[in-house]
């Protein structure tokens, strides 16, 4: 930091302060907390800080450092594999539109699909609390089998652990998955360039709102279902008509706002979204409005955000809309060169605002 005299004009001093902040913001967030809080799991700045300081620091390697949805690994034969894992701890375990079983399969399948892989094999590990109903376990596992069949993946290995009452919240599931990436396919943020179109495969925030309502502590009733679904097939359809597709990401925890921020940072571009183009179901938008939560930060479990060259965007949109999982697909924005690393939202009202990374979980506001 320079310590020279501040420039005499107010504008000059303001400029210095802003520059200092800019430099600071470019750094990855630092971990300052002494204990892990829920914010570290929310997918925002705190999560990034924890991952950097603890996991990346200890495990550092090339495959991990890309911090994608899964790792890309090259076999001696030259073929590429995608490998991904995720743990599922949702409460309630069953909600309109799905269950923890559906999520556990679809979540990992989607992470693989976002790497451009064809999801093929899955593992499943269960941490079960003593006293858990066998009937419920059977039902959840049946959901997993159903989801695996729909996604055309096989669950080929697994593990079971039982812990004392109180040591787990009923049931935790971990799945890991492997898929093959077809030769010549590469989806990566560094391929994204200004002018590209940003698409989303369907309506936003359905899963997060469905789960919040299903928790039942919101005296609010609305007909909202989770969007939990496997996206492998829709991704293949997209890549067939828009082979130039640059980048894919499923906006789960942290929502579309967070993945767009990750993209803007990784590709060093601006992501400019148009609020009026965001597909949001009425009851979902209404519930978010009431709770003071921004649907851009609410979780989805059966959607992806795609960056496609502008000239392939219309074809991509049409093809996605022809598939039931992409019926509400929309072009929601574009990539611009400036301002670098920023997500901008053009509001329906005619203004604009910045969509920043969330600091923690989105919390309902009182005022």
């Amino acid at each position: 930091m320079r310590t020279e005299e501040p420039p005499p004009t107010a504008d000059g001093r303001q400029e210095l302060v802003l520059e200092r902040i800019e430099t600071f913001r470019r750094r990855r967030p630092r971990l300052t907390d002494k204990v892990v809080t829920l914010a570290h799991g929310a997918g925002g700045k705190s999560s990034a800080a924890l991952v950097d300081a603890v996991f990346l620091e200890a495990f550092r390697n090339e495959a991990l450092e890309s911090l994608g949805d899964g790792a890309l690994l090259t076999l001696p034969s030259g073929e590429q594999l995608a490998f991904s894992t995720d743990s599922y701890v949702v409460r309630p375990r069953r909600f309109p539109g799905g269950s923890i079983g559906h999520l556990a399969v679809n979540g990992t399948v989607n992470d693989l699909a976002m790497c451009g892989a064809r999801p093929t094999w899955l593992s499943a590990a269960f941490v079960i609390e003593e006293g858990f109903s066998v009937e419920e376990l059977t039902a959840i596992v049946a959901d997993m089998a159903e989801a695996a069949a729909a996604a055309d993946v096989t669950i080929v290995t697994g593990d079971t652990k039982v812990v004392d009452t109180g040591a787990a919240d009923g049931l935790y599931i971990n799945t890991a998955g492997v898929g093959v990436v077809p030769a010549g396919r590469r989806l990566a943020a560094d391929r994204v360039i200004p002018g590209d179109a940003v698409l989303v495969s369907g309506t936003l925030a359905d899963h997060g709102v469905a789960v919040m309502l299903a928790r039942g502590d919101l005296d609010l009733e609305a007909d909202v279902e989770s969007d939990s679904a496997a996206l492998g097939e829709l991704v293949e359809i997209l890549l067939a008509v828009a082979p130039g597709t640059r980048w894919l990401r499923d906006p789960t925890r942290g929502g579309v706002g967070t993945v767009c921020n990750e993209l803007a940072a990784a590709a060093e571009v601006a992501v400019v979204l148009s609020e009026s183009a965001l597909p949001i179901r009425r009851p979902v938008g209404g519930a978010c409005d009431m709770l003071g939560i921004d649907p851009l930060y609410v979780a989805n479990e059966g959607k992806f955000v795609a960056v496609v060259p502008a000239e392939q965007a219309q074809a991509a949109l049409a093809a996605m809309k022809a598939h039931p999982l992409g019926a509400d697909a929309a072009i929601i924005g574009r990539i611009a060169a400036e301002p670098e690393r920023i997500v901008l939202l053009e509001t329906s009202f005619g203004g604009s605002r910045i969509v920043d990374m969330l600091v923690g979980d989105p919390l309902p506001r009182i005022c």
Binding site: E22, R282, D289, T347, V359
Partner: protein, 381 residues
């Protein structure tokens, strides 16, 4: 939801912005100095950011974010008290969501929860009462914050608790009132404000009359404003129109909801349950006389302040923090000594950095990009 869409119509917004630009031409002094209007309510600030209203306004109108975010004005000592309540054995501590992250002197409720305290987020005090009914062997405390907007629901909950004889429920009241801080801001010798967007939600309860002193005694216009983006623009038009006409009055833009006399039933319920505290500390503004509500004698059995031991230690706002001046529009966020260095959204020192809508937090995040955002938004897609 059609109701709401009418107040978010971009075409109507363009008309309003054109009118604002005309009325504010030349600024307050004819030489371009901007009119500075304070929106009192945190809800207004939220709307202004969410819809990008600042980028729509001409440079001759500036909005200053006021003290009306009930979460930001709770002093650190009270947050420490809340955390100590939450950590007492057998307690279930319930709080509104956005209060959970507000830092006390050493930690927040969210961190207390991480350390093992039973802290639960609720959406209304009645939910907290339900938790008390379901957990008769636990003591359930509700962390009551907010202006006259949320105070009636706390009062109704207490009346219900008394009626049903629910004795394991209590309230830690931090309810505050809107008029005293307005007075405190207006009394400040270095005040630089031309008018106010009055608090819409609070006024549904207290009405519009309590603000008469703003125009009569202090000579500043006030327009009670609604919370949709067009409400804000229209209220700015009304303020500027007063200047153009040479008037200085209290007006009501939010007349579809706010009546001059307020809501007498809600006021009566407040009077039944609460009593004014002689003084209360506001983060960033210091002690303000008769600015907060405590439970009265009749509800002593449900008053967490009487039932539990709390540290009750006053934690001074850090000396370097200039939130008070920022709130009064005396300095800009970036002129504060600790802005962007010791005080950042991740490690906030003052109230203006605590909530994402605080003036400093917003400036920290959006400052540089204001102009860029504005120019990009009008560029063709």
């Amino acid at each position: 939801m059609k109701y709401v869409d009418e107040y978010r119509d971009p075409a109507a917004a363009r008309v309003a912005v054109r009118r604002i630009t005309e009325l504010a031409e030349g600024g307050r002094d004819g030489a371009g100095a901007p009119y500075a209007f304070m929106e009192v309510c945190g809800g207004h600030t939220h709307t202004i950011y969410r819809h990008g209203i600042e980028q729509l306004l001409p440079e001759t109108v500036e909005l200053i974010h006021g003290p009306g975010c009930p979460v930001c004005v709770i002093p650190m000592g009270r947050v420490d008290d809340a955390i100590s309540l939450a950590e007492q054995p057998g307690v279930i501590f319930t709080s509104f969501g956005d209060m959970m992250r507000v830092p006390g002197s050493t930690s927040s409720l969210l961190e207390a929860k991480a350390r093992g305290a039973d802290v639960r987020m609720v959406y209304s005090p009645l939910d907290a009462l339900k938790i008390a009914v379901k957990n008769p062997d636990r003591r359930v405390i509700f962390f009551a914050v907010g202006f006259e907007t949320t105070a009636p629901s706390t009062a109704v909950t207490l009346l219900r608790a008394r009626e049903a004889g629910i004795m394991n429920f209590s309230v830690f009241s931090n309810h505050v009132t809107i008029v005293p801080p307005l007075k405190a801001i207006l009394d400040s010798p270095d005040l630089r404000l031309d008018g106010f967007l009055g608090p819409g939600h609070v006024s549904t309860v207290v009405g519009n009359r309590p603000y008469d002193f703003v125009s009569q005694k202090y000579g500043k216009p006030l327009v009670t404003a609604g919370f949709e983006p067009l409400d804000i623009l229209q209220s700015v038009v009304m303020l500027l129109q007063q200047f153009a006409d040479g008037r200085c009055e209290v007006e009501n833009q939010y007349n579809r909801v706010v009546r001059d006399e307020g809501n007498p039933i809600a006021m009566a319920i407040l009077a039944k349950v609460f009593t004014l505290r002689p003084h209360f500390e506001w983060r960033g503004l210091g002690f303000i006389a008769q600015s907060a509500l405590a439970l009265n004698e009749d509800f002593a059995a449900w008053d967490a302040e009487r039932l539990f031991d709390m540290p009750g230690v006053r934690v001074a706002d850090p000396k370097a923090c200039q939130c008070g001046e920022v709130l009064k529009g005396v300095i800009k966020p970036w002129e504060c000594k600790v802005f962007g260095t010791a005080c950042t959204p991740e490690t906030p020192i003052g109230t203006c950095m605590v909530s994402s809508e605080g003036a400093c937090a917003a400036y920290y995040t959006f400052g540089r990009l204001h102009k860029t955002a504005a120019s990009l938004a009008v560029a063709p897609a």
